[in-house]
Symmetry: C2
Subunit: 415 residues, 2 copies
């Protein structure tokens, strides 16, 4: 039987925009992993009448209702009171929860004010969800055909309570196990990937295949349901191979986070070091590489040669070359990469020079035109990349990632 969940977040701070509803994102991810559909999120303030209305609407369209927030003493237990009322339940005192709350305050060395004990009042007959990450316990109960789960609002508490308390409760509702693997691509948009994969997507039922546009490239998530995890992964494997075959060299890895992570692994495996020479990307390639712990093993360093003088004096780009071809040229991209390799003493050096915008350069090169160079041993290749006339930040980010993709392609023999 397939389940439908609805999320109701309670908190005026959400309606004032003080915080974003990140709990809804976390819960939605977790529920979709379980194969539970989520059709609505609702946010409502600390107002009993409006919360009641939201609950009544949700009851009519979902069989799992998860609330976040409104369990603490400062909100007068709004959520528990309203939910108990909507489902015809009384709140009753739960002695073990009172003990836990008292013990928690004692452990922190804080004095406990009496209003904290309201948190030990819970819907009759509920499964109490012990909170090891805060004071307010959660609760789960089944009434009027609906599974109701109450979770605390602070994101860290909410996430732990969901993973360690609510998840076992929800897993018992669903049949079998869900597993997924994510094929990460670079340099192909969601719509282009979807066009290539549409016949496969249409053919599949279990596993399913879905594309997701991410700032760092399109992801293809393959999700299977089976009796056991091993069986689910077995169902995924042939589809994963098929996706890889269709998308070819656009695939940078499976269950990886980023192009820089892939570069780091490849450099580590091969025992090679990398350096950077950056103009338009202004340090972004270096910054991406050093985002990762362990970068110091393979990343030597970089030069940001923003001014022509730095290109000439630090990287040794000949001044005649700069005068003749301009800074945005394949010649200069090559000289930058070769210069950085020598200066930094690295095995590979990648360079980027281009027009980040918002205006064309003084030679009339258009915004988004970028030359990327890669030097190794005594060799060098240069690729032209056109990011298009998009925002400066986007030209820079895309170019920096393209530069690292050049490293990946070189190291995997794709060039």
């Amino acid at each position: 039987m397939s389940h439908t969940a609805e999320l109701i977040a309670v908190g005026t701070e959400l309606l004032l925009g003080d915080i974003a509803n990140t709990n809804a994102q976390m819960l939605s991810q977790g529920l979709s992993q379980l194969g539970i559909n989520v059709y609505y999120h609702t946010v409502v303030g600390d107002n009993p009448r409006r919360l009641r209305q939201a609950v009544e609407i949700a009851k009519g369209r979902a069989d799992i209702l998860i609330t976040t927030g409104g369990l603490g003493p400062t909100y007068d237990d709004l959520t528990k009171l309203v939910l108990a009322e909507c489902f015809g339940k009384e709140l009753i005192h739960h002695a073990p929860s009172e003990e836990r709350i008292r013990a928690r305050f004692a452990a922190m060395g804080h004095e406990m004010t009496e209003n904290n004990l309201q948190q030990a009042m819970l819907p009759e007959g509920c499964t109490v969800l012990d909170n090891d990450w805060g004071t307010a316990p959660g609760a789960a109960f089944f009434a009027q055909g609906t599974h109701v789960i109450l979770l605390p609002g602070p994101p860290m508490e909410c996430e732990n309570m969901f993973r360690h308390r609510a998840l076992p409760y929800l897993q018992a509702l669903s049949e079998g196990v869900i597993a997924s693997r994510t094929v990460k691509t670079f340099g192909i948009g969601e719509s282009a990937a979807e066009a290539l994969l549409r016949p496969l997507m249409n053919r599949l039922e279990n596993p399913t295949l879905a594309p997701y546009a991410k700032p760092t490239g399109t992801e293809l998530r393959i999700t299977a349901r089976a009796e056991t995890e091993a069986e689910a992964l077995e169902r995924i494997a042939p589809v994963e191979e098929e996706v890889k075959a269709i998308l070819g060299d656009k695939v940078i890895g499976v269950d990886v986070n980023s192009i820089q992570e892939v570069c780091l692994s490849l450099l580590q495996e091969r025992g090679l070091t990398l350096g950077t020479a950056e103009s338009c990307t202004g340090g972004m390639m270096a910054s991406l590489m050093t985002d990762l712990p362990g970068a110091s093993k393979v990343f030597r360093g970089g030069v940001v040669s923003y001014h022509e003088g730095v290109k000439a004096q630090v990287l040794g780009v000949p001044e005649e070359m700069l005068a003749q071809y301009g800074a945005v040229s394949p010649q200069v991209a090559e000289a930058m990469a070769r210069g950085a390799k020598k200066l930094l003493g690295c095995d590979l050096a990648v360079s980027a020079t281009g027009v980040a915008g918002p205006d064309p350069d003084e030679r009339g090169n258009p915004v988004g035109l970028v030359f990327l160079g890669l030097a190794w041993e005594d060799q060098c290749i240069v690729q032209e990349f056109r990011a298009g006339n998009v925002a400066r930040e986007r030209v820079r980010r895309m170019s920096a990632q393209r530069g690292l993709d050049l490293v990946r392609r070189h190291l995997t023999g794709l060039l």
Copy 2:
């Protein structure tokens, strides 16, 4: 008359938890600034039936309805179709929007597929909200007692469309004029700022003063309502002065976006150039500076000296110094800054060397310990900064911004 707004976000990616509904947060902040109440947020997938239901519910409880998402060509213009239907309107072709969409594709050098022209179909009689940040135009109309505003989903587009297109429309609904000024600080948390400003905040009615925690520092927004904008700004001025006096050198500017923007302006005003020497920040300071158009006038370049060999051979940090004090030391921070200034030929050079984590360095320096250096003329100062044992990315980001704040303080005579 007081208005009540409801936000409906359209997008299955929100229900799958691929992204958080940050648009709702941004819009809620903006609406609360206008004195417009927000009682509900709803998220619904790309499903016409469920969107229709959400709209019908919202119509009954709000007089301003703002939707985000579902305007692009890949979603079959779901939001516009459903909203037009719910409010008894036809979608009609809007020629100027078609021209804008065609021009945008031409500028990017991409071929435009025909489905993009669906974006030029808009509700009859609406105010078209031109989108300078993406392809899909927005729309605003009044029907059946409700003001309806349709905004695109990508957060950057949504925010710009709200600020520059929807806000004037909404301001016309409220009596008088709202004006606000934002005092930007650096190096002070929201709660510390609030503690200092609480007496002032309690005393104020019009203007109001509210703190906002941003990744780049706490912001204090002063908002006044008056008959005219000039009058509102007149009310703001004395409060702005008072806030500045209370927060002192933590204030980096008013209505500025970032520390790098402040540095760029200061460098431009004084006709000075900047360079960077980065170890733990790995290129982030350079990348922040080159985020901004116009950076080439004042930013010479930088060296990312991740490996000790690069510190010694490129920046000229003495090898004995590295051996004696280690790379994470005030001595090396100074030598890096002085070395960069000389190498890059800039007026000022800022350096950062520290432990980004996740582990302490081989000398036992703790995660989050960073030394920042600033060299100018023949002088140099070094400051110790302790970011604390936080995530690597946070140590790096905070350190890079601290480094730039050192530049600001030097240029404004605060050191």
